[in-house]
Structure formats: C-alpha cells, structure tokens
Amino acid sequence: MNKTVNQKAWFLVLPVLLLVAFSAVIPLMTVVNYSVQDTFGNNQFFWAGLEWFEQMLASERMWDALWRQLTFSAIILAIEVPLGIFVALNMPKRGFWASFCLVLMSLPLLIPWNVVGTIWQIFGRVDIGLLGYTLDKLGISYNYTQDLLAAWVTVIVMDVWHWTSLVALLAYAGLQSIPDAYYQAAKIDQASRWAVFRYIELPKMAGVLMIAILLRFMDSFMIYTEPFVVTGGGPGNATTFLSIDLVKMALGQFDLGPAAAFSIMYFLVILLISWVFYTVMTNLDKRDGV
C-alpha cells in the first residue's frame, strides 16, 4: 500500500506558533528594536545605531557579571551533577523506601524560588537563623550581607539544596531503566563496583545526564530570584549575576537601550551553549542507536 504524503497536520501546530509569537518572538523583536535606539520615556525613540552594543561590549560591568555568572554555573554543575548521581546510586531501587525517597527528593523542587530565597535568607541570619546563629556560636565568622565568600557559599549551597534533587531524580530514572541482565553479566565477569558504574551505569545514564546538565545550566545561567532575595546582588556587586544586573539596568535605571543590547548578547550566549548541548545530546543518541 502506498502511503500518501500529507502535511496538513502541521496546521495543528498553529495555536502553539501563535502563543510563542506573542510570548517570545514579538517581545524579542521589540528588544532588538530597543537595542538600536534611545528613549527618555513617553514612547519616543531616537536612533542610536550600534552605540549601545559598543558601550556594552566595552563595559567592565557586563563582563564582570558574565564571569560571575559562568563561575556560578560551573560551580553548581560541578557540585550538583556528581552529588545527584551519588544520591541516585544510593537510593533504594524498589519498595516503600523507594517511593519515600522519591517524595522526599521532590520536595525542594516544589518550593517556589522566592520562598527558597526567603528560607535561606532567614536561615543564614546571625541573629535569628539556625545556620547563621550556629556558625556564629562556633566561632566561625559568617555574614552573607558583608562577606563576599559567605555570600557566595550561601547562594551556592542554596542552589545545591534546591536543585540537586532534579539531577538525582533524572539519574535515578536513567538507572531504573537499565535491565537486570547487564548487572548479571557484570557479576559473572566479577566486575568491580567502579567498573559497573563506569561501563554500565554511566553510559546508560548519559542521555538523561545531558538533559540534567542542560536544564541546570540554563536555569543557573538565568538565576534571578533566589540570589536577589538572599543577597540582593551584594555585598557590593559580588553576587550580581547577569539577570540581576540586567533588571537593575532595564528597570532600575530605565536604560532601555543598553539593557536591550545586553539582553540580546545574553540571549545569544544562551542560544549558543544550548545548541552545543542539544547537538551533543542528539549525536549521543544517534551513536547509541536510540
């Protein structure tokens, strides 16, 4: 029987297309328009050409925020991914405790960002917070509002607390999908625990781990609410990440032009890195023949 080619199903995508156009494409186009103009409000715009791009590319403030952002993303990925895998490997495989652990692990993921920020903001306070108070009593100087290191540690530990579960759950799902036959074969070969991890579990988890890394990278690269609530970007600019800086520029100073140029470059960096991740992911799948 010959199949007839019918592309009419594409019309079913139209509603989504419209939705994306209104929520993403049109705002993005507007940002591009803003980036080449100057405004003093009142919806009046003046042509500025590439001035804002030049200014932003030469701006130390943007590069500093970018390096802080990359450092932050690198640190949290370096902690959350191995930790998530470790947790997943040690979670019970079946029975009551498996479900119990799953629920327990999902709890942090259910808490809204600003609440997580508030929890840690209070938790870390020296006067009323359990963590801050304890550290203070132990004689460790800890003040996230004044000390750069304390602020970074707080923001990183907070992110690890909030999001390691996601990596763990994804890795757990990857582990669960490995058929028992692999482990039996490994046992027959007297493979060590490390060899089982290195040659069976890790390759089988590669796909979900890439998704986990991609999700965590994107989320951490766009992080705003949590550090904003905890440190407000301080002390000084120590935890002013890209989006915090962007909001300060766009809404605080109402510098729409520079902020638009900034966000386009921000967008391009995210697009590039996501594309690299996506390409690596799809090529891994093809190599495995999935």
């Binding site: 328009n33 715009f45 391009l268």
Partner: protein, 90 residues
C-alpha cells in the same frame, strides 16, 4: 505597532531573516534535506547549517564591533565568507 518602536534597519533585518526562513522552507519541500557529516563531525541538514550560519554571524558581528576591527558593514562580508564555508564544509 508603535509600541514596538520599529525602525527601518531593524525591519529590514527581520525581513531578511524571515525571507531566509521562507526560502529554506520552500527549498526543504522542493528538495528534501539529506543530513551529512562535515568537519564538525556532527550530522547537519541544510536548516542546521542555516542556523549555524546565523548564530555564528551574530557572534562575528559582535566580535567585529567589540575588537573594533573596522567599519561594521565589512563584518557582513566576513559573515558571507563564513556562510559559504559553513554550507561547503560543515
């Protein structure tokens, strides 16, 4: 549309992008894409190569502007060379 603060250059910019997308869609319908592996050792279709070209061109323009290589329109020439290279070898 006034709230979108349109200017002629940005309108031309988006029209060019839209024209490229439409052209490549028509091309994909008339001459179905066959993926191939190029120097990046990844499988790419014609559409993928267009994406790599556009994204790369954005970065070429930014680098050109940031390093003050020369007048900005020349960056477009560099982009054309880059585009030709991507479509030939990637």
């Amino acid at each position: 549309m006034a709230w979108m603060a349109w200017t002629t250059p940005t309108a031309i910019f988006f029209l060019v992008i839209a024209a490229l997308l439409i052209t490549f869609t028509i091309l994909a319908i008339k001459f179905p894409e066959t993926p191939r592996v190029g120097i990046l050792r990844i499988e790419t279709t014609r559409g993928d190569r267009l994406f790599i070209t556009l994204l790369g061109s954005a970065f070429i323009n930014l680098i050109w502007l940031g390093l003050e290589v020369g007048p900005q329109p020349y960056a477009l020439l560099a982009c054309l060379v880059y585009a030709a290279a991507v479509f030939r070898w990637v």
